[in-house]
Symmetry: C2
């Protein structure tokens, strides 16, 4: 089984581009180094170096692994050091689960402020889907999850931390492209660019439920995976689509994003956490999240 040693050795060779010098640097002899690299290559199933050239050259796979190896070794050290700090200084840690879209501005901001208040607290950040967050909360593997609706649970505390609404994306040549806003029933009268459930099952479900509740029957013209891709499809004239209003700020050629005047569907970011979490550090995090002041409809 491959071990970190293999990466350490590989990295030495990748940096020296010379087995002999790398071996010296590692304080081992050259033959065992050759064997370890060979073992690693066997494990990977592909060569990492172009042999027979002077100087030695990394293959594409080797170049990739060199970067990954750096990152991995650094992360490993950080993890052990972090655990050590927590254990010795009796510091703490906070585990955070989040859906990808929470990374679009919200989380970096929160984390920046939190780190400033609590530089001694180790933070474990893991991107996970909404249902993975539920499981992780139950297992106490994270302290808080950030997700989009629709979760129906009273097992955990839940609160809105950032408010967004859905808006309608139109091709810029559309008759309504110059209107101030549009109404929701426009969705029934135009072909629709829908979301497949593959990448964002929750967002997809949410839209489905929304349309059912509003009594809207969509004419699905195309399926895409992400709101950004939907914008592309709209620009290309496949139809209209529903996207988060916040995407309007980005401005994309061929598309306009119009607010919905009658019943704008909400698209909030939620925080989910266990009731009665005692940790004062966690309470501080919640305070930061709340004073972020994005929790009111715009």
């Amino acid at each position: 089984m491959a071990e970190l040693r293999h990466l350490r050795y590989f990295l030495a060779v990748a940096e020296e581009l010379n087995f002999t010098r790398a071996a010296e640097r590692l304080r081992i002899a050259q033959p065992p180094l050759s064997r370890q690299i060979r073992d690693l290559e066997g494990d990977i199933g592909a060569p990492l170096f172009d042999r027979g050239t002077h100087p030695l050259r990394l293959t594409e796979a080797g170049q990739f692994l060199r970067e990954e190896a750096r990152e991995l070794l650094a992360s490993f050290d950080r993890a052990l050091e972090g655990a050590g700090r927590i254990g010795t200084r009796n510091a703490g840690w906070i585990g955070i689960g989040f859906v990808e879209s929470a990374m679009y501005g919200f989380l970096p901001k929160i984390l920046g402020r939190f780190r400033q208040q609590h530089p001694e607290i180790e933070i474990n950040l893991t991107e996970m889907s909404a249902d993975q967050q539920l499981i992780a909360l139950r297992d106490r593997r994270i302290h808080v999850g950030f997700l989009r609706p629709h979760i129906e649970t009273d097992e955990f505390e839940q609160e809105v931390v950032q408010f967004d609404t859905l808006a309608i994306a139109l091709q810029s040549t559309h008759p309504l492209a110059t209107a101030e806003s549009v109404t929701l029933d426009l969705l029934e009268r135009e072909p629709f660019v829908a979301y497949g459930g593959r990448l964002r099952p929750n967002f997809c479900d949410y839209l489905r439920r929304l349309c059912r509740d509003a009594g809207i029957k969509l004419q699905v013209a195309m399926q895409v995976d992400q709101p950004e891709t939907a914008l592309g499809a709209v620009a290309a004239g496949y139809g209209i689509s529903l996207v988060p209003q916040s995407l309007a700020g980005q401005g994309r050629e061929g598309v306009v994003i119009k607010p919905i005047s009658d019943r704008p569907p909400p698209h909030p970011l939620m925080a989910l956490y266990r009731r009665n979490e005692p940790s004062p550090v966690f309470q501080d995090l919640l305070t930061i999240v709340r004073t972020n002041n994005c929790a009111s409809p715009s």
Copy 2:
């Protein structure tokens, strides 16, 4: 030296909360498992389990390490598999360096589209400062870097990929808080919340240079590390500050962000890459970055 084996073993115990069962799962005997855990704890310098309780319990450090270990082991496998795919299918990889603020919407969007076009390409993402990006480009450790000015180099190709301007943040009780826009010379007449060079030396330098070029003398009232923190300081009445216009969308209580009418200072996101990069995959990435259509002043 600590190895992945230690993490694998630790994870088994952490999940079973029982050395004997964990050993069975790992297909080894219990005593060597105990020893490996002890070695790991020695390396870390803190206990990972509360011994002497039934059932076994993880210490805080142990809980943290459990999450980190999961992540690390998964990353390790991903890295080896990725390298294998590159080597066998003759696929490729793209290395991307980026400053933190590129993560605020820009990069996730680009990556989403790129992954869709090239699911077979491995992506190595590394957050690094602007000067680290320069070094990494030279070392061919990344193919492209995303950074904020000010970099003066003709060693690499450079282009604007997202345009933003700086705006002035005022306390919402400020007389000008209701104005449409303000002028740059307001900076001279009010105490200023400035940026220390610790976290974002480039941004800090950029502001300094900007003020010097515009002939503006700031009255620095406070130093903060990040624009978000600056907003907090402004809300608290320490003074006014310069922040990216894009922060205006987030809305924060006690602060208004006003565009600068006379000479709005640009704050673009740049892409930096080697000239004559032949890879067609890389060219595709550039195309996606360019058709992102955020490169024109708003």
